[in-house]
């Protein structure tokens, strides 16, 4: 039960990362690897504003704003010029590695390599819940990511914006012909993705101590989730992320515990090789 709950907590954060990644992948057709650095960036910004103002609300608002600006800037300054030159998805992927590296080291320069901790809740007491110990931040993580998921679901299915986004994702050229300005929606997907990443960042900042290397780790986890579920569909990547969380926590039964980190890499590797469209994904490769 405890393992199950831990899996859900981990899976919730991975899901937030995975949705943003998958959304950006669908509308822009390339792998935005720097998404992980958006997560670390938000976690550090949240930490920074919290230690400045000592108010969680201010920290959250500042993080959401700054992180969406960061997402938009990445699109505006680097990805969009590359896309305009009809660069291949490989160039965009390498560029995103560059951005990941740039942001991570920028943060390292500004914040130093010391370990940061918000410590908002003070010493934590676990609550008993169906035989599992749950701490308050963990509960917040699960609830708020659920809220985000519902919000994204409503946004994508019930609003005009979501419909247009899905149209761009489905067929960019056709969407353009129908008068949907795809450039706008590509930028928008970056903003939405970054907002989700910033939620993940704040949640991570609440529960764990921060370190710069987190970005790559969370990116790999979220990416694994998206690939396992199917990177072409948002609900599938959410499911995939929970699977990663489960596999990680239950894999410890079969493997020595120091291999916990390796489990998701092995999963990623196997899925990329044998089932690149994921368990529930739709094969869209023919449209590429």
């Amino acid at each position: 039960m405890q393992l199950l709950f831990n899996s859900v907590v981990a899976g919730s954060i991975y899901a937030l990362v995975a949705i943003g990644f998958s959304l950006i992948f669908q509308t822009n057709r390339f792998m935005h690897f720097a998404h992980g650095s958006a997560v670390v960036f938000s976690a550090y910004i949240a930490f920074h504003f919290f230690s400045l103002s000592n108010s969680l609300l201010i920290a959250i608002i500042a993080t959401l704003i700054l992180s969406s600006i960061l997402g938009y800037l990445m699109h505006l300054l680097i990805y969009y010029p590359l896309q305009k030159k009809k660069s291949s998805s490989v160039i965009l992927l390498i560029a995103s590695f560059g951005i990941l590296f740039l942001i991570d080291n920028g943060l390292l320069l500004y914040f130093g390599s010391g370990i940061k901790n918000i410590n908002y809740f003070g010493p934590l007491r676990g609550m008993e819940f169906f035989g599992a110990l749950i701490t308050k931040p963990q509960l917040i993580i699960v609830l708020s990511s659920l809220l985000c998921l519902i919000f994204i679901y409503l946004l994508m299915t019930k609003t005009k914006l979501g419909r247009n986004l899905r149209a761009v994702a489905d067929n960019n050229d056709l969407a353009n012909i129908m008068g949907i300005e795809s450039k706008k929606y590509m930028a928008l997907s970056f903003i939405i993705g970054s907002v989700l990443a910033s939620v993940a960042g704040v949640l991570i900042a609440l529960e764990q101590t921060l370190s710069i290397n987190m970005g790559t780790t969370y990116m790999i986890k979220g990416f694994t989730g998206a690939i396992i579920g199917g990177v072409n569909s948002v609900p599938a990547s959410i499911l995939g992320s929970y699977i990663v969380g489960l596999a990680e926590n239950f894999g410890v039964w079969f493997l020595p515990s120091q291999f916990k980190e390796a489990i998701s890499f092995i999963l990623l590797f196997l899925f990329l090789l044998y089932k690149p469209n994921g368990l529930f994904g739709i094969d869209k490769s023919s449209r590429k």
Binding site: V90, N105, E261, A262
Partner: protein, 328 residues
């Protein structure tokens, strides 16, 4: 008229290529001479050794990534396999030559296995799988503590010694690594100029026609990966015995981005590019040391500069300095 002009251009190009290698060789000899005479201090020798190691890495990665068009992000991990193999073999009492042999073969075999698994994948998917493979090897380096001592790394790796001859000083190592680098460059240069080299480029440019000609594409890819793996292992072995200390983080994303930057700045599918890229980035790297910045922010500053160069090159000159192909 037109043909004569064309010939002239080709001649000058050939000449410039020869001149490039010649100038490089002469400069290299001069520097080594100055180091051996003690005019330049040990620090210069150290930088030259590091350049030599990266030269082997970049030129062998270029064989796969530039010439064959396989976007392989696992080269640094293979380099790590070579380093660990060589170090562990020697520490367990095997002779250097045997360790070097295995340290070259093992990454070669790994590269072929990776290629076997990924033979159907292309472009960004191939890139991500090879990146995933690096991640896998990295987590093995970190997690298999009984063998690799995990994050602590291996220290006190013995110096190189063979035939009653031990390499003690940095200067001796400089000569040794220069010979190794020159030999590697000559071998890979000749491979790329041979008919096999042309086959590799054909794999990159037009797989289907090559299949129609009855060539076994997978076999060609395996060979290319195997050769590149061999040299990655050689570089790894040199690195392990030179620095005498290796840890998993030496074989991870920092060096990966460095190598990627080097290749893309130099230009893919060009041996000159691969060599020139290493030299220019290393000069930049070391000249940063002259700036008055404290050492704890030197590392991140450097990496920010690599990342910026990488992004700017992709934006404004995706072919690099000497590159002949676009990334597909």
């Amino acid at each position: 008229m037109g043909t004569i002009q064309k010939n002239n251009i080709i001649e000058t190009l050939k000449d410039s290529q020869k001149a490039f290698w010649l100038i490089l060789f002469v400069i290299d000899i001069i520097f080594i001479f100055l180091c051996l005479q003690g005019i330049l201090n040990e620090y210069f020798a150290h930088v030259l050794v590091v350049i030599n190691i990266y030269l082997i890495l970049s030129i062998s990665l270029n064989l796969v990534m530039g010439f064959t068009g396989l976007l392989n992000l696992s080269h640094i991990a293979l380099f790590g396999v070579g380093a660990y193999t060589s170090a562990l073999m020697i520490m367990n009492g095997y002779s250097y030559l045997l360790s070097l042999l295995l340290a070259m073969l093992l990454p070669g075999v790994f590269a072929v296995l990776l290629m076997f698994a990924t033979r159907k994948l292309k472009s960004d998917y191939l890139m991500l799988v090879t990146f995933g493979f690096s991640f896998l090897l990295y987590s093995i380096f970190i997690s298999w503590t009984s063998l690799t001592r995990g994050p602590l790394g291996l220290n006190n790796i013995p110096k190189i010694s063979f035939f009653d001859f031990t390499i003690y000083s940095t200067n001796q190592f400089l000569v040794f690594s220069t010979i190794m680098a020159i030999v590697s460059i000559i071998i890979i240069y000749n491979i790329t100029k041979s008919s096999f080299g042309r086959l590799l480029q054909a794999v990159r440019d037009d797989e289907i026609s090559l299949k129609l000609l009855g060539k076994n594409i997978e076999l060609i890819k395996f060979k290319a990966m195997f050769i590149s793996g061999l040299f990655a292992g050689l570089a790894g072995s040199l690195f392990a015995h030179y620095s005498q200390y290796i840890e998993p983080n030496s074989f991870w994303i920092v060096d990966l981005i460095f190598l990627l930057t080097v290749l893309i700045v130099g230009g893919l599918a060009s041996n000159r590019g691969a060599v020139f890229g290493v030299i220019i980035i290393m000069i930049l790297n070391e000249s940063l040391r002259l700036l008055p910045i404290p050492s704890e922010i030197l590392g991140p500053t450097r990496q920010i500069i690599y990342a910026l160069i990488l992004i700017l090159i992709l934006l404004y000159r995706p072919k690099g300095i000497f590159g002949r192909i676009d990334l597909k």
